[in-house]
Symmetry: D2
Subunit: 351 residues, 4 copies
């Protein structure tokens, strides 16, 4: 099966990554792209183009109304919105966290939240999916099984560090090479960060619990990757926390528990989320969660969702680094597996 896909916002970092991944996807054909540079359609032209699928990598506040138009014009098409416009379930929650009205209120609650490993079946049947944010993905994946099993207390501290593609491509002075290189700092500390709203809503929907997150994002002088360092309180030892996460994702290709703290380089250019768990002293456990913010945190997960919506193998066209056991000690230490090939290729000759 082949499918035609239009990518809106292909000049931004997430849209560009989507095009890059789709170009290597065995079933995808990029039918058109929209953007602000020569060679791209205008967004309006794109809205008139029939296709099997659409990826919306447009700014927050704009994307939602495009989703509405596409739903109306091409009801059979699969649409994934990478913006935040459709992630919250109600207009009230949206207004609380974003401090303005949602751009597409009628669609709120209509599009499943595309954290694939959480909502796989809902995504499979949906025409429109709200793709999660990068921070929320990194946080929610380890926290979901812990809250679901009531293994940890409600107050969780998340010290998150993101590469600069997460801040977008708009030319702002503070994002210049000469400003960011050699530097590091937190931003937006203590403010009600919209990512808190998104992840709390997702955790509540899935577990019925409303955690109390302290969330501090930091900006790294790297291009790609998020490392979230989570400090949780628990009566259980780190081993039990680790086991709960590992059990929850036992069958998953892209979410894996590893022994050593994951590095950004372990997940760069992949769709993986690597998680490690460590003792943090009495009553305290430390959990690290690493993703590529453009991969599992944006374009990769969007394609993972699109695959499901279109009835394709979920991992088709996506890259995984293999288990970290492989990464650290196998004969194919850095081998990347690009799915879509017929069968796994287990390395032979392992001692």
């Amino acid at each position: 099966m082949q499918f035609d896909v239009g990518v809106f916002g292909a000049t931004g970092y997430a849209g560009r990554e989507a095009v890059r991944l789709l170009s290597a996807h065995p079933a995808a054909r990029v039918a058109f792209t929209t953007g602000r540079a020569t060679g791209h359609l205008s967004h309006e032209e794109g809205l008139a183009r029939p296709a099997d699928a659409y990826l919306l990598a447009l700014p927050h506040g704009v994307s939602g109304s495009y989703a509405e138009t596409l739903r109306a014009s091409f009801p059979a098409a699969a649409v994934v919105d990478l913006s935040a416009d459709l992630r919250l379930p109600t207009a009230a929650e949206y207004a609380t966290w974003y401090e303005h009205q949602p751009p597409a209120p009628a669609l709120l609650g209509q599009a499943p939240y595309g954290l694939t490993e959480l909502n796989r079946e809902a995504v499979r049947g949906a025409r429109l999916v709200a793709n999660p944010g990068c921070y929320a993905t990194a946080m929610a994946l380890p926290l979901l099984p812990l809250f679901a099993a009531s293994l940890i207390a409600d107050d969780v501290i998340v010290d998150a560090k993101s590469g600069a593609t997460g801040a977008g491509k708009g030319p702002r002075e503070e994002l210049l090479f000469c400003e960011l290189a050699d530097d590091f700092s937190a931003y937006a500390p203590g403010r009600s960060h919209r990512h808190i709203g998104e992840v709390e809503a997702a955790l509540f929907a899935a577990t019925g619990r409303r955690p109390s997150l302290t969330f501090c994002p930091h900006l790294l002088p790297v291009k790609r990757g998020i490392l979230a360092s989570l400090y949780v309180r628990s009566e259980h030892p780190a081993a039990a926390i680790r086991e709960a996460i590992a059990a929850r994702y036992a069958g998953e290709r892209f979410v894996r528990v590893v022994d050593a703290p994951p590095r950004l380089s372990d997940v760069a250019f992949t769709n993986d989320c690597l998680i490690s768990v460590h003792d943090g002293g009495p009553g305290r456990v430390v959990v690290f969660s690493a993703i590529d913010n453009l991969g599992k945190g944006a374009a990769g997960q969007a394609i993972q969702n699109l695959n499901l919506q279109l009835g394709l193998p979920e991992a088709q066209g996506l890259v995984s680094s293999g288990s970290v056991a492989d990464v650290k000690s196998s004969t194919v230490p850095w081998g990347l597996r690009r799915d879509g090939s017929s069968a796994p290729k287990p390395p032979g000759g392992v001692k």
Copy 2:
């Protein structure tokens, strides 16, 4: 007054920074340096050279015995040991955290812990000073007034990020440019990190309280700087925490409370520690503390201590970025003040 100083270990990053700072110090004359490259004395040759002062920037486990020799040979000289060998008060504590016997047990407890703003008077009268570690400096400065006034609970989470000079200059594969660039990760999570022992001992000596630290160091792809993100529990609002820290360091040139989260670039090449305080949600306060790990975290603080030991102005030869109010809004936004000049130079013409 002029003084002659010998620098041991001048080929390492801390020793090199010490030489750089001393070369611009109006009263200092670098009498000799030791190190493993052409043009340096051997350590043994250095031990036989009379001087007014010595800085020991040698590896842990080696430095302490050099301090003993210098104390015996030149009892009138001022000595600052930048290693960890003399920082803990007892051999038992040393053995607990370092898992081997201390190299100079007779000196333990004899050298004041040179966190200058804490132990200024003891440093002034001492011939031998144990210079604090970089992580401990970044953590202890904001925590001291909070524990002293019992404003926070004992369990403190420290998510610390350090530049790579903190890992030293020994050629190890994991410190290669091609390994570190574009990357980021935690290391030694959950293990009883020796920096915990150092900071807990300092806090206990100063406040009588023994905190319970969860300490996670991360390695940044930058050369210089430490940012420690501290998550404390408190019944008091962030404003009260901020005020307590500001009041404690009201007269200090190098330790200052600022409004926005400090950047590494704010403290790079300075002797400053910049601290900011933010609301972290119910019962939670976030404190950021930034230093240059080679400045206030090593060579800068060593010279600050040396100045006191020699009866010189404490800030002589050291660089401060000015108050952040200056940095952000004055007419001399990035002006660095190098002390030792006769008088402050207030910028004129401020609107």
Copy 3:
């Protein structure tokens, strides 16, 4: 068709890249890897393993004798040696440039020089191929058609800049992150650099001319990529130089002439060599040539050669960035094409 391949030296940067590429190669199965870390075979174990193909990514001076052993043990297997050991045609030339005797003198002149676009037919029939060096590849590709048609004078200046993976993974102080970051310099200027010997031999073999190269390599604070800036003297205008290169590589997928000076990011993670040509003032033309030193400069070209040796499509498993016209102005600007898929996927919807 599937083939089993053993990779020697898989812990180095070139060997690691080879494993990464082979893991995504639709016909390749990595049968074993050798290296100095857990999970790899020893080199000796590898020499006893039958396979369809072998890649030797071992240090210069070691690799050649492994090639001899493999040729003797498995005469039907395809072998590509990525080292410099077999690149020069005679022991005399080897001794001139390397200042010691060649490790495998009997093989000199037996293995075709695997600059694929130059020696495609020889490579196709060979069991053993000498893979070119990264600098030589970047220089030789633009120079070959110019010398062949006698369009330029013999004296050519090559100002080359390489990413740090080109310096290898051995832990040396000058390759530490804290030494290389923020820095830049030339190295080995004016000395008879072995890359000159390699490229002069290749040009002589192909064109009968012996150029007089001034070659200055510089080390960039980036991981991947080589940009060679070539300054040639010519009576012909830049347009004629450009046309000659473009005509020579008209049918080539991986060697392409572009309008703007190529960036390292245009070729990173690809097997491409992008070349641009510019007027340099009276009688002078400037040619830029960019490759990924680990791609076309090492592992990529090795697999390109291996494909030919094994009768597979030459581009299988390799990545191209598409024409620069695409890169700059098409609807799929950054789309990477990974060959091995059934058919090209022309982007639709171009305005």
Copy 4:
């Protein structure tokens, strides 16, 4: 003596560096700064402020008319214009290279070209100085003595690499961290680059010869520094070229000939220009010239000129790295000497 100085354009990289240097200058008092951020005066306000000296770090095309105003309002004040507006001797030459009319034609030829080591006496007597560009400084210093003594042929190739502060602080997409990091390329190749005009005019004025430069600038992923690799033709050996440059700058503190190719880190944060000379094959010599583009290439040289205009010691407030012999082999390898202190501090104890 103390002097009051106003800095125009203090929010740009050159202006910011000027303020940083002046803040550590023992005789300078920053009277005011102008710029586009809170805390700075507007440019118009600055023009009305009396001061002893002014530094104009404003964009090309704007700066010249400010120089005119200041000359008229405060004829006794010393003014250094860091822009290109006053560097060319005639309006015709200006129009040729800049393709528009000069902003202050009446001042052309009135302000000496402030390449200090070339025009020291003219600068000393001038109220207005045209500060050289960074590329021109790096090129002209080694070329001047070679053309003056007719040691080299007219055709010179300059392959220059600059840090990104040279591209300014205006937020443009191509200067974003995510665009520049890990990347490298040439820009403006083959076009008549304005820096050629500047350096050719300076060389003609000083030597009566008009060279034919091929000049290719490249953009490095570093903040500070320029390395110019010059390829000259000469009948003389490299040793004679080296000797000619060394003899010309024998008494100079900031321009020095060194043995190994200079690194950007050798000159970063200094006012130095380090030059090395190497054999480049028959009839060819390679010359490397390294400066900090914000130091000797902009703010540092501006202050060097200002010192002369004001009758102060030329090196006051400026930093030198010491001779490279010191840097590589003395007991004070990385010692920076900040002038203004009473006397040199020779390191003792050298073996």
